[in-house]
């Protein structure tokens, strides 16, 4: 049996498909900082699954991102090429907070006195200009020992082109100090841009001790309850890796939770026969969206931890699923700005004090409160008795009175502004990147996704929406469906037309060998491994690249024409034009390796037999945008069978989430229990 556990800010989720008993198990339990592994044991225990029966354990965790945001990693030293130890501190000289003349730039994770330089130099072609001075390395090690660092990162200039000196340096350190954690830049990325690469190394080194002790503890604890299967970690690239490899490159886990939902959407798309999807996840504090084009989850290496409109954040060059995130979730606070405009978020009431509806001290109206007042949620959706008067009075006092609106209009105003923010984020991943949302299916999940999707889909002219089963633990479901995945990216710049096909094939061969070696370490044979090949290309003179899938390797001379045509298409898609006569250039080679895990078979639900009305819990007034109040039937999702069909307006409730369907929209329950919502007449 395969289970997935996902540690989030508030809850640790578990999802398991029990093929023997034909059922899906979903469970939640509280997250238990700082001993996160306890939450995992708790949720397993709560689920009633026997640890002995688990053969595959897949895990997503916020441990790494927490260690970074709370600065709780290990004491770390950095070794750089002579003359470049300050690259990490200078960063890119940019100032996103344009008009704040007392801004603060991100403070490096490794202070200057722990950044040591050694004499060595490669040129841009990877030729040795100055050999590695081994004595410099030895004295750096001696110094780091005195300073009692736990982890050492190494990043040399132009090592993306030749990592020989980095490898040699690591070897020397290992021989002198076997216990210390070591990261070379080439093990985490082989892309150019020294600041971004150095930052990736610094962050990886910094979290290595944390990752190692966390994963070791978790393994021990799992063993202690009788688990004997294989364990995998969810990575930010949408695939998994083994615990051992995760300890070497823990930075790859940094966004493991959020990406699983996106990956899950792609898998769900395969199952229901849709390949163009937009994944839309609304949680307590944020909304996230990501576009899946023709079944492919988009991966980027331009991710920055903590980046905002006003703050540069810390780059990591590890492949991360391309997600747009905005500060708008269920707990987002509604407020009136100085100029008298209604705003929602980014500040969130969080879990404590939470929305007014939670009754534990929240006084600021939130999106959740507005949903309650407009009938999208009912007091019955909350664990606590809800004081509706308190909710109403907060909305009236804080929003209604200043704007001259009654309670209903104020609550609808909050929802409209929140949805407008989400709408702009959805446009960001679609329209702005050259995609027409009408050609996409919206997959909505997380606590709030199902509540907002119907109105957003209508605004965007999206014709079809899917609310997956277990929408509120969908990220864990996504993890359950993932495969082992490793990304290998190398910068080799050359014009496509002038690069001999043999040279291209040699690069692929080298990368394939690296992949095979890593997969063998994972326990996967070369024949099980499935590779996909991409090149990042651009027109000569441009900077930004587009990712182009390429035919099977080894390539033949005539494949270059196919690649060129695909590049033109991808460029036109992304940037609206092509330059048919301009020479095209390859910048990066990107190999994606997937390995042999078979996803569990989905369980079908029982067919609908009687009238859908039997699922009706109640009827209540719900306020719809542009329509107003309507008496709306409320259905219990668990009581709906496969094939059930009905039309909006309707609210479908489940334990931790609630789906709102607009008038003029039809709902159909598919054989797995997913709600498929379409616009009438489509």
């Amino acid at each position: 049996m395969r289970i997935a556990t996902d540690i989030g800010g508030t809850f640790t989720d578990l999802v398991c498909i029990d093929e023997e008993n034909c059922r899906m198990v979903a469970e939640k339990s509280h997250t238990t900082p700082p001993n996160f592994e306890q939450g995992v044991l708790d949720v397993i225990k709560k689920s009633g699954l026997s640890p002995e029966s688990i053969d595959t354990f897949i895990h997503g965790t916020t441990t790494i991102i927490n260690a970074l945001t709370e600065r709780k990693g290990g004491k770390t030293g950095l070794i750089t090429t002579k003359g470049f130890r300050d690259v990490l501190e200078i960063a890119r000289c940019n100032r996103p907070d344009l008009f704040n003349l007392v801004f603060s730039k991100p403070e490096p994770f490794i202070p200057r006195y722990l950044r040591q330089e050694v004499a060595e130099r490669m040129n841009y072609k990877g030729e040795v200009i100055q050999p590695l001075n081994e004595e410099d390395v030895k004295s750096a090690v001696k110094y780091f020992k005195e300073q009692e660092v736990e982890s050492i990162g190494i990043c040399y200039i132009n090592s993306y082109a030749n990592d020989q000196h980095e490898q040699k340096t690591a070897e020397i350190i290992r021989s002198l100090w076997p216990e210390v954690f070591i990261t070379t830049s080439s093990t985490v990325t082989r892309e150019w841009r020294e600041y971004e690469r150095t930052s990736t190394v610094a962050l990886n080194s910094y979290v290595m001790p944390t990752a190692s002790s966390y994963l070791n503890n978790l393994s021990k604890k799992l063993e202690s309850i009788g688990f004997k299967g294989k364990s995998y970690i969810m990575q930010s690239n949408g695939g998994t890796t083994t615990f051992d490899q995760a300890k070497e490159a823990p930075i790859n886990m940094v966004e493991s939770g959020p990406v699983a939902g996106v990956y899950g959407s792609a898998i769900l798309g395969q199952i229901i026969g849709e390949s163009n999807l937009i994944a839309f996840d609304v949680g307590g504090t944020t909304a996230k969206c990501s576009l899946i084009d023709n079944g492919e989850v988009k991966v980027t290496t331009e991710y920055r931890i903590g980046r905002t409109d006003n703050y540069a954040g810390y780059p990591i060059m590890a492949p991360v699923v391309d997600i747009v995130e905005i500060g708008n979730g269920g707990g987002s606070i509604a407020w009136i700005d100085e100029a008298g405009s209604l705003r929602v978020g980014p500040q969130s009431a969080g879990a404590v004090p939470g929305p007014v509806a939670y009754g534990i001290g929240g006084t600021e109206p939130t999106t959740t409160d507005a949903c309650l007042l407009t009938g999208r949620l009912s007091p019955g959706n909350f664990d606590n008795p809800v004081d509706m008067e308190a909710v109403k009075s907060a909305i009236v006092k804080k929003i209604g009175e200043p704007l001259g609106l009654n309670a209903d209009d104020a609550a609808m105003g909050i929802i409209r502004v929140a949805e407008s923010n989400m709408y702009n984020a959805l446009k960001l991943v679609s329209v702005r990147r050259g995609y027409d949302p009408r050609e996409f299916t919206l997959v909505a999940f997380g606590g709030g996704g199902p509540m907002h999707c119907a109105s957003l889909a209508r605004e965007l002219n999206i014709k079809k929406m899917v609310i997956p089963v277990a929408a509120s633990v969908f990220a864990a479901w996504g993890m359950l469906m993932t495969d082992l995945r490793h990304d290998y990216i190398r910068t080799h710049i050359s014009p496509l037309a002038e690069t001999p096909v043999e040279q291209i094939n040699d690069i692929w061969k080298e990368m394939q060998e690296q992949a095979e070696k890593q997969f063998i370490d994972d326990g996967i044979t070369a024949s099980q491994m499935v590779c996909q090949y991409y090149v990042d290309m651009r027109y000569l003179g441009q900077e930004h690249t587009v990712k182009v899938p390429i035919p099977a390797v080894p390539l033949k001379e005539e494949d270059k024409d196919i690649i060129k045509e695909r590049f033109h298409e991808a460029h036109e898609q992304a940037y609206t034009f092509r330059l048919p006569n301009a020479p095209a250039e390859i910048v990066n080679y990107h190999l994606v390796g997937n390995g042999g895990l078979t996803p569990p078979k989905l369980q079908e639900i029982a067919p609908q037999t009687g009238d859908v009305e039997e699922a009706r819990i109640s009827t209540r007034p719900v306020c719809f945008n542009e329509v107003g109040w309507l008496d709306t039937p409320v259905y219990d999702r668990l009581k709906l069978g496969a094939g059930a069909q009905f039309s909006g307006p309707v609210v479908i409730e489940e334990k931790t989430s609630s789906t709102v369907v607009y008038p003029g929209q039809n709902v159909c329950v598919d054989k797995y229990g997913n709600l498929i919502i379409t616009e009438e007449g489509e």
């Binding site: 730039k105 006195y113 200039i157 993306y160 841009r193 702009n424 710049i493 003179g541 930004h544």
Partner: protein
């Protein structure tokens, strides 16, 4: 009349306008062929209402703030709204007209029509790698007239009702050094305007023209409301400051003088009394001067405000025509940012004691612009570097100054990575580090400048640079010490050193000659003897200051091994 439009709808449309502004901004960077645009983001895009009032502006560089709407207004004024047709695009870079900076910054303006009427204008302005003139990269330090600096477009029609003027395109391409890049950037600018055009029309279709127009008014009014609210809270009075900026390039001093007056409803920045325009390209036009004043104004009003002309309604900037701060034809302007930034700095310095929370000590000030051209040692292909250099910022009342940042006129601007520079350009970078001279002592310390060493890898490269703030250091405030200066030196292959110097034009570099560029450390804030002893010890441990500086400037004895520190009793 239409029914009353609810404020939530207006806000939603207003946010959509801002989102369109952002989209237009980012779409341009991604297609550009010029590193100065895609890497340095040396451009801006804006949306204005039908009268040319700026509604929202996406900026890469601060210095472009408020240059878009005067440019649009210049087009309206010259052609008259009745003669502007759907699909037109106008090109403008005249330094003395609305929105002018230097010739390298090419502006484009497009009207947006809905139901046969102009509902908005779109404008953008981008630094082209080359616009012709006496020097590669067009911007140089030794021009004496604008005619040496490249092509000058006094607002002319580039696209006529959707038809590109091939005549003009041919003229452009035969007058610039990199015609492909110029044409690519030209189309990139046009494409981003057209994207914005489409999005605004979509918005009108969705919400109706009336709602969109109302939202535009609301956007401007709200900007003004906040600015006036802040103004009402400001202390009232007049503050004066004058400083000499380095010199005019021929050894003569150049005075920058400001009197800033804050009243109940106006914020007046008066530069009367500043030096007359000079025969070197450090003159600035009026709108760029205003841009500098707008930066300081924004920083104390609210740095997070959406930039629009409503915000700036209370601001008035005065300069004398013919002065270095409001120069007239044919004054050269290719390094206009030097006087513009000095004017900004003098205003900043005048107000720093008044607004200590928002304005810290002086920073490295200059763009420290570098233009290097030549051929690549391996490919033989010509290359051109046009880039700013990072330096130190001043400390402020709550924190140390930042290290290695571009000057205030830049912003969301990126340095060129060493690995990229070595691949593309015919250079190797010998060093890129912090300039830890320990200047800028204070309770809070000035941030360190940078050291960047470029080694020429082929013969016959041409190096041009303008490193302002080379005579007077970054100023300290409230008892903090001054920082240092910007300069560079050239270390020839045989070991001879030329310099230190700060301004040069087309100096020849041959293989293995090295240019060593050093930028200023920012000024300090507060009495150094008030600096926390532990922080002084950390500064020594990190090498930002020396043991001697700890002792001399901060009165702290630091043990070089244990970094235990004690402050000597004050004498």
């Amino acid at each position: 009349m239409t029914k009353n439009i609810d404020s939530v709808t207006l806000d939603i449309v207003k946010d959509s306008l801002i989102a369109i502004g952002n989209e237009v901004f980012y779409s341009f960077a991604q297609t550009s062929m010029s590193p100065i645009i895609y890497e340095t983001l040396d451009y801006a895009c804006g949306i204005a209402d039908s009268e040319g009032h700026l509604l929202t502006q996406g900026n890469g560089a601060c210095g472009f703030i408020g240059l878009i709407s005067p440019m649009i207004q210049a087009v309206i004024e010259k052609f008259g709204k009745e003669n502007i047709r759907e699909g037109d695009v106008y090109i403008i870079n005249d330094p003395y007209m609305g929105g002018g900076s230097h010739l390298s910054d090419i502006g484009m303006v497009m009207p947006v029509f809905y139901n046969g009427e102009i509902i908005a204008f779109l404008g953008n302005k981008a630094h082209w790698s080359d616009v012709g003139g006496m020097a590669a990269g067009s911007f140089t330090t030794d021009s004496t007239e604008v005619f040496q600096e490249g092509l000058r477009f006094p607002a002319v029609k580039l696209v006529d009702g959707g038809e590109i003027s091939q005549t003009l395109v041919d003229m452009i391409k035969s007058n610039v050094r990199f015609p492909e890049a110029a044409e690519g950037d030209m189309w990139g600018q046009i494409a981003s305007l057209r994207t914005g055009n489409k999005r605004i029309i979509d918005l009108c279709e969705k919400y109706g023209e009336v709602v969109v127009r109302e939202s535009m008014t609301r956007l401007l009014d709200q900007g003004e409301i906040i600015a006036r609210k802040r103004l009402s809270e400001f202390p009232k009075g007049s503050w004066e400051m004058e400083e000499y900026m380095d010199d005019d390039g021929h050894g003569n001093p150049v005075l920058i003088k400001v009197k800033v007056t804050i009243t109940d409803d106006e914020f007046i920045v008066d530069y009367t009394g500043s030096s007359p325009q000079v025969f070197s390209p450090i003159n600035t036009g009026y709108t760029s001067l205003c841009a500098g004043a707008k930066i300081v104004f924004m920083s104390i009003v609210d740095p997070d405000l959406v930039i629009n002309d409503g915000v700036f309604r209370p601001l008035r900037v005065i300069a004398e025509p013919g002065s270095v701060l409001q120069c007239q034809s044919p004054a050269p302007t290719s390094c206009y940012f030097e006087s513009m930034l000095y004017a900004t700095d003098v205003l900043w310095k005048a107000l720093a004691p008044v607004f200590p929370k928002y304005l810290g000590a002086g920073h490295m000030l200059s763009v420290c612009s570098v233009v290097l051209s030549g051929t690549h040692q391996d490919t033989g292909a010509p290359f051109l570097i046009v880039e700013p250099t990072g330096g130190g910022w001043g400390a402020s009342s709550e924190k140390d100054g930042e290290v290695g940042q571009f000057c205030v006129g830049d912003g969301e601007t990126y340095n060129v990575p060493v690995e990229m520079a070595e691949t593309r350009y015919g250079i190797m970078v010998d060093e890129y580090s912090l300039h830890t001279d320990g200047a800028g002592a204070g309770m809070f310390r000035g941030g360190s400048g940078c050291v960047r060493k470029y080694r020429a890898m082929s013969d016959g490269q041409l190096f041009t640079a303008s490193f302002g703030r080379n005579k007077y250091p970054a100023w300290g405030t409230n008892g903090g010490a001054d920082g240092s200066y910007n300069y560079f030196e050239i270390i020839r292959a045989d070991g001879t050193v030329e310099g230190p110097m700060a301004i040069t034009a087309r100096t020849v570099l041959n293989k293995n000659d090295v240019v060593n560029m050093i930028t200023a450390t920012g000024g300090g804030y507060g009495d150094p003897y008030q600096r926390d002893v532990k922080r002084v010890a950390e500064d020594v441990r990190n090498g930002y200051i020396t043991l001697e500086q700890a002792k001399k400037d901060y009165g702290v004895d630091v043990d070089p091994v244990t970094f235990q520190a004690v402050r000597r009793e004050e004498n």
